[in-house]
């Protein structure tokens, strides 16, 4: 795949591009020239300050968008207009108006699309999904997902993360993983309620919980935070007849540990512990994207497709609306 990197703004860029070392980065475009030139050197590409020139080059098959979320719509629509395939870091866009505009443009094109939701590489989460679909724990009644790190607590996030014109706080950033996981495991969402707080005064919420109800009456809760050193993820799914818990991260040295218990399946009548390392990890979204670009006959991957991306934007928009308007204050 021959691609252009559209800004090196996101902290993920280097990690993701390292997963596709045999693909070819032709250009780096960045509104921050110094950052763009540095990235061009790193990825052995040409820095180009004129976006139109990058997109007009027929050698460029795809764009990898690692720009501020608030720039996504403009960049995506421009890339689609030039027939470029799209890898977009999460989330797609901050509002449904923009998300639906992107979806319409995408569907009128033949561009491939992948939203980077790298939580789904976890073999453990795939195992959970498979068990739900197999009915192992009965109908799902509750899902709880926690994903947090100390980016604000330890002040290692870039200054841009506190700029409202570029970002939207922890719910829109790290929170995407939980907000995408809930419908993945529970189905179609119906209602959203969120509570958000800010420790300190750097700007933007850095501690956030969103609760979502689903058509099947399950309730999903996603907690996310930039204010703790507790970086081990946690997922628990409660079914009518059993439960599954996943502790840890697929990429950490200790990996993931799964607990499963079910009244319905004899092998799991007692709580059983499964080492996540025994489950196959999925390719990273950027690897999936590279494969889709190389082979137009491959079907889209539903975890990363435009419908999942639009639904995630809907959840984000509703969460912020709820936190800002619908909360009930004691005072």
């Amino acid at each position: 795949m021959k691609y252009a990197l559209l800004t090196d703004w996101h902290v993920h860029t280097e990690g993701f591009l390292s997963k596709i070392p045999t693909d070819d980065c032709l250009y780096v475009w960045d509104f921050n020239r110094a950052r763009g030139e540095q990235a061009a050197k790193k990825y052995n590409a040409r820095y180009e300050e004129n976006l139109e020139k990058v997109l007009a080059d027929p050698a460029v098959e795809a764009v990898v968008i690692e720009a501020p979320t608030t720039m996504h719509t403009e960049l995506i629509l421009a890339a689609i207009a030039h027939g470029k395939h799209l890898f977009v870091d999460k989330p797609l866009a901050p509002t449904m108006t923009e998300a639906l505009e992107i979806k319409a443009a995408l569907e009128a094109s033949s561009c491939r699309f992948v939203l980077s939701l790298e939580s789904f590489i976890s073999g453990s989460y795939r195992f959970v999904k498979d068990q739900i679909e197999a009915g192992t724990i009965g109908d799902v009644v509750s899902v709880y997902f926690r994903r947090a790190h100390g980016g604000v607590l330890h002040d290692w996030l870039p200054a841009d993360w506190y700029d409202e014109t570029q970002m939207g706080g922890v719910t829109l950033d790290l929170g995407c993983h939980g907000l995408a996981m809930l419908p993945y495991l529970c189905g179609k969402p119906t209602k959203v309620n969120a509570v958000m707080t800010q420790f300190g005064e750097k700007g933007m919420e850095n501690n956030s919980t969103t609760v979502v109800s689903f058509e099947n009456n399950a309730i999903g809760t996603a907690y996310t935070s930039f204010m703790t050193t507790v970086g081990e993820n946690f997922l628990e799914v409660i079914g009518q007849h059993g439960s599954i818990q996943v502790f840890g991260n697929p990429d950490s040295p200790t990996g993931e540990s799964i607990w499963i218990q079910s009244d319905l399946v004899e092998a799991y009548h007692e709580k059983t512990v499964i080492d996540g390392k025994t489950l196959a990890q999925q390719p990273y979204p950027i690897e999936v994207f590279s494969a889709l670009v190389d082979d137009p006959t491959l079907p889209s991957v539903k975890e990363y497709d435009i419908d999942a991306a639009v639904e995630l934007t809907w959840l984000i928009e509703q969460a912020y609306r709820s936190a800002n308007e619908a909360s009930i204050n004691k005072a």
Copy 2:
């Protein structure tokens, strides 16, 4: 302690009264005569259909209120008017208007008061509270509490549980444990958002999640359900520098297991597992009540006092208001 039992409506009655076998039940009053007479036989008491007669008897020191929540205010105010001490099953009352009326009457009397929040008997939860106060895991950023059973799923709850004029669904009933735990661990609540669903059509919500923010910016989440066989409780507290998890129930054969990890305390740098059985269990609220009645010099116990009871009612009222009005519907 010489007491009167005011209805045998609640499923807890027998379990609680068995904790105070040397106390003396003089009367059972119940609006359901058959149930009242049966209870009178069981507790070796007199059945009396005239409440006024029970309360007018100077031999009665205290009342144990196991009546429908919607009757609490009437019964409590009548008992206070006769100077009787009050043990009240959770919650105090369904609305703040009623809760504040009760508080005013109580404070103008010399009656002792205990709200039955039996989750607080757990030595593990006391351990968690102590660790938070000692700063072991740093400032709290998040608390998650799950408490559920299969009372609706397996249809073992009394028919009254589905009668809106007597009850209020799982949030008001089993949900009390989580809603009381959150301010116990996080402090003063500021905002409440809830999502509730109903599996089946028996009436009342039976699956419910309430999210609360606190003055210290912590966010607490309480999930409760009548729709699962997963009866093992779960509590997790995330601090800025560590975490504590509690799995299980103090009264179950396997008891509770605690995980604690902290960057601040050398003994807990690695995740440490503590057996809940090594921690002293607290007396049941009814035992505390019996002691308070017997010895007027004993101070109230803050976990069960009128301020905790009023705050719990506030949380319940806000949760229902949020679920009914403030949620955002996809349709």
